[in-house]
């Protein structure tokens, strides 16, 4: 009954749609009506079943798939794609193991497991909702294909690693909007109860006007996968994707984006310029590819307000992953869920017991919308803008120059290889000693 009350999609309630789908399944209507419709491909299979394809089967992709399958809707995983067979098989086993209570939700036939660079197209075709969780360098082409095929999307942040990728995502975001396809981007703080409560109060003026922001992702070291003799250079970089910019975007893009996004969100706009510094102070070995181990960026918004963004991967140095939003009447300390007045007295404290599980909430909300035939989520544009915010931070620390957001977007700067194949050369190659060239501030140039 609730369905009849829920907002209709193109004037069609879910109940009507399900009815129509059953008719379709019974062969009473011609199938192409759905296939050609410039709208969401709801329930392509049995009525009420939402089919999911997982593109990118690492730890996060596996987690996202299980979260999708753990929503209240009747969700089935029907296809998987990954560049590596071992990653795909491992992920499949983990998903089966995690879904023991509802095994009917995992319906991936051997033929629906796609290994290699190109399988994503066929995997996407099998689904109603697509989960995009490969290294971020692939996101623009995968997102483009998913929207081309008329699918709803959950995609992890960041959504690209270079301005050319951002341009493609922004273009695709418009198409998704035109097709009314839901797109959720895994910037999960936007789906987290504590952040939503803080945001609400800041909008209500509890800290007055925002005067500056401090955002942090300072943590220790990450994983490295040792090189094996059988690896081509492309395979080595794909397995160690974190350390190569065409795949990862550097840790300022891959991780610090979360905190930068909170700044953009609370400020309600995106910065116009970035200036900063960074380098490789501690993590200097060749196994760490070309990325920096620290960045400090001053982002400036149109009204002159500054967001100071710092991130580092320094083992044993003090850590902090947090955001502080400072206003004329007080400040917000996001990680603590706390708002202070200008004298430092707590005026609001979020009750930790009320915290949700934001990673699950993203999927709960997305799949509820899809099941109800609602168009609710257009995260792609803001996901692209926040990703580009992080990217101009990297361009600023790498070049030692001030980088303008619009200029970067217009630059078309593209880090991607000419060809995606294991025997193709990646865009950066090691020297004879196995070292990768990395950016040198004041020397490295992107655009003037």
């Amino acid at each position: 009954m609730e369905n009849e009350k829920s907002p209709s999609f193109h004037g069609q309630s879910r109940r009507d749609f399900v009815k129509q789908s059953s008719l379709l399944a019974g062969g009473l209507l011609a199938a192409p009506i759905i296939a050609e419709a410039s709208q969401a491909n709801y329930f392509s299979g049995a009525p009420g079943v939402i089919k999911v394809a997982l593109i990118g089967c690492g730890g996060r992709g596996t987690g996202a798939a299980v979260q999708a399958l753990s929503t209240k809707q009747n969700v089935q995983l029907v296809a998987m794609a990954d560049a590596f067979k071992d990653r795909l098989d491992g992920s499949f086993n983990e998903i089966v193991d995690s879904m023991k209570a509802t095994p009917e939700r995992v319906k991936v036939a051997e033929a629906d497991k796609y290994v290699g660079f190109d399988g994503y197209k066929e995997a996407i075709a099998k689904a109603d909702v697509v989960i995009l969780t490969t290294p971020p360098g692939f996101r623009p082409i995968h997102f483009e294909e998913a929207i081309r095929q008329g699918k709803h999307v959950f995609m992890e942040k960041p959504v690209a690693t270079d301005p050319a990728g951002i341009a493609k995502v922004l273009e695709t975001a418009e198409k998704a909007k035109a097709k009314k396809l839901n797109v959720v981007v895994g910037l999960q703080r936007r789906y987290q109860t504590s952040y939503l409560e803080l945001y609400k109060r800041v909008k209500d003026g509890i800290i007055g006007d925002i005067t500056s922001m401090q955002v942090y992702w300072n943590q220790g070291a990450l994983w490295v996968k040792p090189r094996k003799p059988e690896y081509t250079e492309m395979e080595y970089q794909m397995r160690n994707w974190y350390y190569f910019n065409w795949l990862c975007g550097d840790h300022i893009v891959e991780q610090h984006i979360h905190n930068i996004d909170v700044g953009n969100w609370f400020k309600g706009e995106i910065p116009v310029t970035a200036m900063g510094m960074g380098g490789r102070a501690i993590r200097t070995g060749k196994e760490f590819g070309e990325i920096y181990d620290h960045h400090y960026v001053e982002y400036r918004y149109a009204d002159g307000v500054v967001m100071n963004a710092q991130c580092r991967h320094w083992k044993d140095a003090v850590s902090r992953v947090d955001e502080e939003i400072i206003g004329t009447k007080g400040r917000v300390i996001c990680d603590k869920g706390r708002i202070l007045d200008s004298k430092g007295k707590t005026i609001y404290q979020f009750d930790r017991k009320q915290e949700n599980r934001p990673y699950q909430a993203e999927h709960d909300e997305l799949f509820a919308a899809v099941a109800a035939g609602q168009y609710k989520f257009e995260d792609a544009k803001r996901g692209a803008e926040t990703t580009l915010t992080a990217i101009i931070g990297r361009l600023a620390t790498y070049s030692g120059q001030t980088i303008a957001f619009e200029k970067a977007l217009a630059s078309g700067l593209n880090l991607q290889p000419a060809k995606y194949a294991f025997d193709a050369p990646p865009p950066i190659l090691p020297d004879a000693d196995g070292n990768y060239a990395y950016a040198k501030p004041g020397i490295t140039k992107y655009f003037s």
């Binding site: 690492g58 730890g59 996060r60 596996t62 987690g63 996202a64 798939a65 299980v66 983990e94 998903i95 995690s98 999960q188 300072n218 943590q219 220790g220 070291a221 990450l222 994983w223 083992k315 044993d316 003090v318 850590s319 902090r320 992953v321 947090d322 990680d335 603590k336 599980r357 990673y359």
Partner: protein
Amino acid sequence: MRKKTVAILLAGIVTSGAYAQNNEPFTAYEQKVPGSDVPIKMVPVKGGEFLLGSPAKEKGRNADEGPQKKVKIDPFWMGAYEVTFDQYDVYSDAEKDKTPLPDGMTRPSPPYIDLTLGMGKGGGFPANSMSQYAALMYCRWLYGKTGVFYRLPTEAEWEYACRAGSTTAFPFGDDASKLGEYAWTQENSEEVYHKVGEKKPNAWGLYDMMGNVGEWTLDQYDEKGYEKAAAENPWNQPTVKTPRTIKGGTYLEPATAARCAARLKSDESWNNRDPQIPRSKWWNADAPFIGFRIIRPVKQPTKAEAEKFFADVIDKFVGAR
């Protein structure tokens, strides 16, 4: 069937087997963490009898702290302090370990986020946020490196050591207003853990038993566990990965949670923030308030018994939290 296994295991661990070192005096000593210059200070805890749990009238008491039961505990050495990062990282950080790993062991994987959360790491801060599996793996590593059998305390051993002969809510009495001299709790911690040993020890020379980081024990958490507790060296041997029992309260909790008898049960939600699958076996992304300390039973198990113990408590419950 289960009871029998428990009996055999505990016999192996606590009451039989040979001494690892002959004629070692039962006094405080420093165990050097192999591959480093870092010592772990161990203090003797004589065997004896005590009342496990709290009396019904104790202020702040929870239902799971009773009925009180008289139990006998065999002697052991206990870490004077919670295990610190200086000590734990010799295991978890290959760059800090100057000697190879014991056969078949792996090091903890890097955590998803830096779990110290800015509260401090080197120089004596307690190791925190580890799963019980990670705490037990440290014991196994230390055993592999030293030949001396170390393990987590049972819940009963922990409480016996915390009480240090007292029968009151806290080892120094019932007056919670004095707790600040001994412990970092919600009242004085400013929501961060502190370096170990900054407060007064209890009568047996044990620091930070109350407050600071909560401490893993070897027991499956069971609300009614004390009814079934054995008269000698009780141990509720784990049958599932979660929940396990934590003792001592934490820097985020009030004084009542730092009473000797207070119990805390671990929870899956302590790793909510880990968005990956498989989830980390080693770390709890949302439990910065958990740590551990080690004990060394005076009656050391044989090598076979120790290996069986680790197989039973670790290998059967990989990733227990």
